[in-house]
Amino acid sequence: MNNTDSIQTDEEKTKIYTIKTQVGKEQNTADMINSRAAKSKIKIPSILVTPELRGYLFIEAYDKERIKEMIKTISYARNILEGDIPLEQIKHFLVPASAVAKISEGDVVEMVSGPFRGETAKVTHIDDTKEEITVELFESVVPIPITVRGEQVRVIKRKEDEKKKEEKKE
């Protein structure tokens, strides 16, 4: 009886491991792990790819050694990190922060993708629900407002930092 109980308890508890992947190939790696798991019948209840953590994914499993063996055949997967992590440590990844959370009006941003890649612009408006920002390019002769997605820009100068600098000068 006791023996059965202990087996059931072991079965119930999954562990979360971190797998290092090629940057940008996290989703592909997750799909490949998913198909390999289906073929080999390794118990993997879930695979998690978070937008904040590039080059890593989380895998919920029971047997680390079997996962280690399996990812050797997946080209995008690099290795499995030592030790497991409790769910509490990755809970914040399950509710990703808004892409515009760290951007405020007046900030200077650099476009990191899209047709204006490499251009700098000033943020004029932020739409929290759509996670979009409206910017005005510095190099355009006529200031035309352009609306882009929050993940398409990188903040290079914050309005708050500039204010502090000006206050110091005074």
């Binding site: 979360i16 118990k43 209840p45 695979i47 978070t50 919920e60 769910l87 399950l94 996670e131």
Partner: protein
């Protein structure tokens, strides 16, 4: 190339304009990727309140 869309209600990933599970509209804009293979034994599925196996988005815009 097929565009994967995410249900605005349950976050289930599908190619269809409406979710096959809850019939809610789907969106082309989503972030994060979760594969739930066994919702009964998954801590992640329990935390995200997912009852059906499949692929899900973490956030849908």
């Amino acid at each position: 190339m097929k565009i994967i869309r995410a249900c605005k209600t349950c976050h289930y990933l599908t190619e269809k304009e409406s979710c096959p599970f809850c019939s809610s509209p789907t969106s082309k804009r989503w972030r994060g990727y979760v594969v739930i293979r066994n919702p009964e034994s998954s801590q992640v599925a329990e935390h995200m309140n997912i009852k059906k196996p499949g692929k899900y988005a973490l956030k849908v815009m």
